[in-house]
Amino acid sequence: MAKKKFVVGCFDDEAVLFPAVKKVRTSGYKIHDVYTPFAVHGLDHALGMRETSLHTAGFIYGITGTTTALSCISWIFTLDWPLNIGGKPHFALPAWVPIIFELTVLFAAVGMVLTFCYLCQLAPFVKKHHFHARATDDLFVMVIECTDKTNVDDLKAFLSSNGAVETDVQVAEEGWWLGRYDKDEMMFENKEIVAA
């Protein structure tokens, strides 16, 4: 994948971050992402993201589990191998409720976690570009994608005036690759020197 140029602004407080996000967006810049150490409630809406549909996917996986359990057990006990258990009905629905419930939960949980990992592109041995080492610690890192027209210095100054404690320009890979975190390049080694 191609590398892109990003302007990075770091904030140390949500109270500063929210107005900054709003200003950057109304000024017409495209925010690539905001990396935060914990789930900041309302930030997704402030960035104009839609609600996730993960729970809907979970529901669909759940009913898939219900259907699988019900259809398999009823096929096995009424058609494939009908067992006479004390003359009781072959189609013993109440006795199947526990297994149907368990499979519903199992399918929903496993399906949702796999979907989550797929959507977020998370897996062991996966490596991504980290714009700031403290993004998982105590900084809120706003990353703005540059276009041909972006004046980098203006943007950096704009971010600083909106409360960014640290600003920076990075050329980075957007996607993921297989890599090891111990062979880490220094976080700011690939910084591009922009002529003033």
Binding site: L54, I76, E102, L103, A108, R180
Partner: protein, 370 residues
Amino acid sequence: MNRAAEAMTIFAVMCAGQFPIFHMGRVWMAFFVLPYPNTRGPLWVNFNSPLLWDVFAISTYFTVSLLFWYSGLIPDFATVRDRAFTKLRKRLYGIASFGWTGSTKHWQRHESLSLVLAGLSTPLVLSVHTIVSFDFATSVIPGWHTTIFPPYFVAGAIFSGFAMVQTLMVIVRKVFQMEDYVTIGHIEAMNKVIVLTGSIVGVAYLTELFMGWYSQNKYEGYTFWYSRAYLFSPYGWSYWGMMACNVLSPQIFWFRKMRRNLFVTFFMSIIVNIGMWFERFVIIVTSLYRDYLPSSWSVYYSPTIWEIGFYAGTFGLFFTCFFLFAKYFPVIAIAEIKYVLKTTGEGYKNKMGKIEEQKLEDFVHEQAHH
């Protein structure tokens, strides 16, 4: 606290899951309990049997708990990875954190995932203990054949689970100096749950005794009123040991001072663990050592060296896993704590003065923009 409790759940389920497998005798054929297209017909497992429900319940419970636990760990592993100083740690935590960056969209999905998994785990806890109790309750053995078993087992599970968490967390809290995160307030709240569930279990014991008499069933009466409640029957001591540990002694937690005392908490948590061991002993041994035929009554049950070995082995497995967890994993949910401190911590509260002085209209005006 929740992180460590989830870890304990998983390790305990690992231990618990071994026992049915050992009891199959031929452990290498344990996979026979799974419904798979086999070469014997195919011959299917009995989906109407509580023992098979248990296979599904325990395996589902284990899988879902593991997923819930690990998905919560991913962002915290990323934090540890980015704060690590040695290459080995960076590499290993890098693998464990799945390349987590902290992107807003990822957090949004993560929140949704955690919420749904928590919602799924709650009925799962109820179902797994209910189904375990069905293993007993659907049998015809006096003392097991009772309809009160499902709620009784669920209450007992919460009771003993909280006690075990107390036992370990009181120590972990001290060793890791986490007094600021696991507060006396948390411990007090857990002690309240212990006294509540202990009393529920107590009500269940009394209900069983009542039904032993009210049913006017000779065998039930014999089991409950002779084998269990009569102190001088061969196993009367175990029944009254259970009563003392599980029902009477937790009542000390009605007193606020006792709930907030770490030594009392630790001591009581051990007592409760012993009490819950007594409960299992009472349920199993007192119902089985004398059955319908006096000729097959055993004089006294004594565990074989293998039984003791299996039991000691579960302690080994549990504590090995728990110590490894405590050593290498974030014991408390870091990201959650950060959020909580940000919104309710002392640092946050101290900054509230300015907002408190605001006029109502100004406050509403300002907040409306978020």
